[in-house]
């Protein structure tokens, strides 16, 4: 009797899931060997060094075909005794958005359909800082700074208690030992729960296959950072992981014409960030949410 029940249940379940089965058919029908390999690719953190090398070689091959450039894909791990933090001097930001576009170039963002930008500069009326509801994102005057306004650039705050890491159902995003929250783009399933969970709108989604102009491609990339992504994966600022692990400033720090942006290692007592936290009045956005961001805003003296 029990076996009959199982077969009966099986029949019903098959009938019920016929539609589900139908949905997967097109997914599997166009399966080449390469796509099968992609499908079965492991989580980055579970790969052995040999597997990582193989994946890197495969990706380099693919990028060469797609973009015509020889890529150097690094999988460099966190440098020991580093804990990165960012500083932004609000009294100096003039809202020119050069950081936004330097980031776009350095990190191989999709330029249009969809247009992805990891940094967003908000314009706030003087007298109001914390309530971001009155911010303007699409200001486009002839010259900046405009009188009566201040500018607040926001990007991923690399929280110590990241809500996005907590809610990801597949561990596709995690915090590296040097404090950077990264995404394994090949593991992300595109559920966008992390985008709903982020209080700073730090994460953006590749709604379609990214459009990167070939001549503007940056070929020195990191696997977890700025390598060209694919459609329907989440991405975010990685503090230019390809640069900082080699000891270089992030692209936005170098692009800022007013020297607003600062970067450093919190574990190094001589670093710029320690100086700032010790001597300047720093604050962090939405501290009351308990996310412990590592992005410190400060004002002169």
């Amino acid at each position: 009797m029990q076996n009959k029940r199982y077969t009966r249940r099986e029949f019903l379940r098959n009938a019920s899931l016929a539609a589900l089965g139908g949905l997967t058919i097109p997914v599997f029908s166009s399966c080449t060997k390469e796509e099968a390999e992609d499908f079965l690719q492991k989580h980055f953190r579970e790969m052995t060094p040999e597997e990582k090398k193989r994946i890197i070689a495969k990706l380099e091959q693919r990028y060469l075909q797609k973009y015509g450039r020889k890529f150097q894909i690094s999988t460099q791990e966190a440098v020991p005794d580093t804990f990165w933090a960012y500083g932004l001097e609000l009294s100096r930001c003039i809202g020119c958005r050069r950081c936004v576009y330097a980031c776009v170039k350095e990190n191989n963002h999709s330029r249009h359909d969809p247009q992805l930008q990891w940094i967003r500069v908000l314009r706030l009326k003087r007298g109001n800082l914390i309530n971001l509801e009155n911010s303007e994102h699409y200001y486009d005057p002839d010259l900046v700074p405009e009188k009566g306004f201040i500018y607040l650039p926001v990007q991923c705050q690399q929280c110590q208690e990241p809500p996005c890491v907590k809610v990801c159902p597949v561990h596709a995003t995690w915090q590296e030992p040097d404090g950077i929250v990264v995404v394994d783009y090949n593991w992300c399933i595109g559920c966008r729960y992390c985008i709903a969970a982020c209080p700073y709108k730090g994460r953006v989604f590749n709604w379609a296959e990214p459009n990167i102009p070939k001549e503007e491609i940056n070929p020195s990339v990191h696997y977890l950072g700025n390598r060209p992504r694919m459609k329907c994966a989440v991405e975010k600022c990685t503090f230019c992981i390809q640069r900082v692990r080699q000891g270089r400033y992030p692209a936005c720090v170098e692009a800022c014409p007013t020297g607003t942006r600062k970067f450093g290692n919190l574990l190094d007592p001589n670093s710029e960030m320690r100086y700032i936290i010790d001597r300047k009045r720093v604050f962090r956005l939405k501290e009351d949410l308990g996310t412990e961001p590592k992005f410190y805003y400060f004002f002169e003296a």
Partner: protein, 156 residues
Amino acid sequence: MFLLGVCFTSFANGAGEEFPVAPPPMTEGMFPCSNCHASMEVNRKKRELKEEHSQIKLHHAETMRWCLDCHDAKNRDKLRLYNGELINFTESYRLCGECHGPQYRDWKAGIHGKRVGYFTGPGKRIYYLCAHCHDPHEPKFKPLKPEPPPIKPKDS
């Protein structure tokens, strides 16, 4: 090796510190100033310059200072500190720091101003001089044209 290292850095005589600064932003063909000034007479009268350097509009404490308070009168290739010490243009931050103390302290720590390149390890780094961002004669920042805003998603 040591000499090579010397080439990439500049000395700060009094403080003994070395900062890897970028070359000072001189107008093309101006330096060395002594090409013209070595043969000229020194006129210490405070006046508006009409024959040369007329394009320089001094808007930097112009009621209290003028050209020869910073540029040494006898050796125009050097800048003059308050105690009479002469310094190179590559160390101009020491001169700015005489009045702008807090900014100078912050600049030395890297908080004020701009640094590019490598912040750790042996890689090349460049510190921008004060003069790179602030024109010493007209230091106030000029407004810039902003880059375009993000594409606004179309409301339904």
